[in-house]
Symmetry: D2
Subunit: 346 residues, 4 copies
């Protein structure tokens, strides 16, 4: 059994990790910490877990975590970087669901996540951390000590664009990612902006001038392309709880390619990427609760613009599910163990 | 393996049955029929099933169904009654998710479901059919040939009121069931009334003067009470996809009872009924996708009125999940096999 | 022109007051205060007001308010009571949209709204304040200096029950008000409980053991009945932005009455109460943005239980619209001036 | 008074026309036809109109329409073209809210709206019809006999792109319009695809390979550009009732321009186009129920890609409101008469 600890289990990625790990046959859930909810039974906090999880939240406790095989950080940005070094030293493997280890370049990290008061706590680990997108880094993940679990937008956008970018099929300087996220992506913090009455019956873009996920996406695409890329990324608030939909645009270098075949081939052996038949439009609900990314590729009016549609559940393939997938790879489990649930439709 | 057939798999109870049965370790999904979609792959119709179910819809076909161990009817009212006799004769057990066999009295059936043109096709089976509420009829279900799977409202309301009614704790002539259902309860028919733009940002009661589920609930409560009951049942359209919430009111004969204890005791050994701690308010989302009914009991201002809150997922405990639970009982499986999924929250 | 001031304009009742008053032909919007947003243009804060209102929020300022004809308090509970005395002394009439002056009995107020630290700041005004339900207190409102604008639930519930209670038609000790409110009723505070991801695709009751609006409703019904009443009031969170729906139950003393006629007669001359034809079910969307309360009365199965359905827009007839209606009455305007907008459907 | 007739008043553009015209001070609503609902009071059909409109639906009747000053067609595509010639001959001016007269080229019309059985019924009127986008065709509208009211997507997209296209600021062959529409845009027909349970908690693109509004948008942009344009248009179903959001992308020919100034100047005298301050993101709810289009222009990372955000209410500026605006222009009213309502927020 894999002995698992979770730091920060009271947010939406936390409860989703709990849902998945409670049903995972090879996992022993050992400790779950929350400073604010210490002593509260997990199932009192998240009533869907009643009858499934008996643990209570405990205060942050290095000793209890140090005996785990793996620790997930389901915390806000800036927490994992203060504790990772010690856990790794104790032989614990670490999967961070936040952004502390996603960017390899500390200057870029500083620009998007730091401040005059906040510097990266362990920049030396940025190079070692493996970016946890199995469709790109599966081999490295097997032996990784520290995994940076990708952001939700970056997962949907990269899986959608990789075949085009890896093979140099589009104008690499004018990529467009128009994406929309369910509100659970904003987390479970008390904020006016994510109140029901601010987000229901309402749609708008945000951060059009620059979102924190932009450098993460560009880093991944640049690595795939072997060169810097130009990307315009516009996220939108979508009045649903779960789901990310990315509509991706590129200008093709060659209109004669069989894009459908290229996509099917690229993902033929991926258990969690599903290329839909030509002409289809993937639905966010078709992956609700599931670890799948579904893609479709279009070339409207036989023109030179390719449109790729990509959907994931932001809390599953965009967060907790991908983290469990990474754990499976790290601990030599079947990659799909504990991740076979069928999406809830409708 | 239990060889399973489904008649009418294109509605919401159909896709939910498919989701549950595809993951059931003891089930072999053998045939699924749909007149309208013959030849279409099930997974093309319901994309959440891609990668999980390879079957295609077939035309209605008695021979294919006759070799099944059990056939589920996920059809509109009026279909199962025309085919049940023949299947039973062939030794196939039948679970009807519609209302054809729920009412024991053919006159009552005629009043609520019949018309001058539509008479019951096999009234002789109404007495044999077992009403599939395991919390009441478990023993009879083990050997049942024909099971009438309860309606969604009746499941939520009966489970909420049974402890009071069975033990004669309330004024049996003035029960109130104020209930609200997610729109998936109305099915997947093309109708103006259930369009998104008619149901979103909107709430209203309907059928206040009498809903088809009323006689079903009254029959169940009368049996529990050993006498006729008086019930006012007002259903409402709730702008969510899944979930039923019933708020139940009764006038207590005795204010001195420990209602919390009474409820906990009544359901202590029930795997799918969860009595919440005193003071709690069950949430529909805490059972989304799960076969659980969660209950809470209140006595506001220490008065003589008891309030019971009851939630289920109308497509699971209110339909497909309860049907699988019944199948498990009928075929000597553990009652919870295939029904252990944790609800999706948020 | 009526010179109007608003204290606390950054919540949902505030923006709704602004929407209504900006279009009111007899109103001069003079000052709007907000401690937190001082200096911000109102239309930057609420973009729907762009092009309609030029004011900026100002710091709380007694002098500016003292020259108004009327001041609306769109503030949390506990603010108006600290400023009302001074404004009244300056000859300014006051309409409080919060609960500071709704309960006549200071002990009851203390129990539901006070605390060991919080005592009522001007209990001597509780007797003078006029409860602003025009359908009951129109005459007193004409000359009122201080108006306590009713709560949203209390408006919907009282308008629904008044005909029964005033005329003694029901068992006055066993009234039931099962009500559901759109989430905007919870205000625009940053709280986890009202986040989109906590309230969407979700339904539950709350405060079943006692909600602050209970004593307000009971006070109003007791006055109408001429005796104390017994009421069970269970509110629910409804996943819509605007709208309250109350489903009201009573046990009739006499089954022979023409309830439809009684309701139509009671409200025949009320401009904002609309009794629907027999058999109808009022929709929350039919009053969205409008100051109307729509009612329907049912007697299911010709039994002894009456069911009344009542809908309002919680921000209009349940708050800002009713406040403007009260202002119209106080300042001798046509009662419907500025309140004629048709509800937005769909 | 302008004597107004409406053909086909039972859809969402119909009820919205009724809402606006009932409150229009210069309009006398004379006749409203519906084959299916003949004899039904309009206010029984749309309860928000109770107390505001006394008319009943009448059977289609040329004589009654022939005495109107203007007739609105709020009908499906293909109806107005069969009746326009006769009405125009009778001296009645016609505003078609459907697509019968939007495309000037009959071959293009035939390709997108026709079939082997359906040919255009009066192609000779295609040249005379004035495309009812006042921001482009105001002068021609004053004297127009026949107005083709623009589609909802085309209104949002054209208003967003016009300043760039008119002034040749972008690569005219690679425009992208990523748009999302509230479900009311799909109309009030009984269809499985627009059921609540198919559209709630769900997001997807549709018609990525070609949507009927594409040729309409391209015709308008080509006219503005003075040359053919290349446009990729991907619409999405948005799980809200009202609202269109377009996110528009273009590659700038010159990065040195002050785009904010260009937009503000272009629309400085337009009563219904609101250019937000730099950095803003328009919200669909800020125009809910209002005839306004709000725009914002961005140039992310100071690059060569411009992003324009455009929102309208699809039923108002995208349909009925724009039709009333056109009527005002045609009949020498102030352009804003009857269209001053402030959007409902939240």
């Amino acid at each position: 059994m894999i002995k698992v600890g979770i730091v920060g289990g009271t947010g939406y990625t936390g409860v989703e990790l709990l849902r998945l790990l409670a049903a995972h046959p090879a996992v022993e859930l050992s400790v779950i910490t929350s400073r604010a909810e210490t002593g509260i039974a997990v199932a009192d906090f998240f009533p869907n877990l009643r009858g499934h999880i008996d643990l209570a939240f405990t205060a942050p406790d290095s000793a209890a975590l140090a005996v785990c095989d793996v620790v997930f950080f389901a915390t806000p940005n800036g927490i994992a970087m203060t504790q990772a070094r010690e856990l790794l030293a104790a032989g614990v493997r670490v999967i961070d669901l936040a952004a502390d280890f996603r960017l390899r370049d500390v200057t870029t990290w500083q620009r998007w996540y730091g401040s005059t008061d906040v510097k990266h706590a362990c920049p030396e680990l940025l190079q070692e951390a493996v970016y946890g997108l199995p469709e790109v880094n599966r081999a490295a993940l097997r032996t990784a000590r520290l995994v940076a679990n990708p952001g939700c937008y970056p997962t949907a956008v990269q899986l959608g664009l990789l075949p085009l970018v890896e093979q140099g099929l589009v104008d690499i300087k004018h990529l467009i990612a128009n994406a929309a996220s369910g509100i659970s992506g904003a987390g479970r913090k008390a904020e006016v902006g994510t109140l029901f009455s601010e987000r229901a019956e309402q749609f708008r873009a945000y951060a059009a001038s620059g979102h924190r996920h932009l450098p993460e996406i560009m880093q991944g695409l640049a690595q795939a392309a072997g060169q810097d890329v130009g990307l315009t990324f516009v996220p939108h608030y979508l009045p649903i709880v779960r789901g990310i939909h990315a509509t991706l645009y590129g200008i093709l270098n060659d209109k004669g390619l069989n894009l459908q075949e290229i996509y099917e081939k690229r993902y033929a052996s991926e258990p969690f990427v599903d290329v839909l038949p030509a002409g289809a439009h993937p639905e966010t609900r078709s992956v609700k609760g599931a670890n799948t990314c579904r893609l479709a590729v279009h070339r409207p009016q036989e023109g030179d613009t390719v449109v790729v549609l990509s959907v994931i559940d932001n809390l599953v393939k965009g967060a907790a599910g991908q983290a469990v997938q990474n754990m499976n790879i790290m601990f030599n489990q079947h990659e799909t163990t504990g991740l076979n649930a069928i999406a809830l439709l409708p």
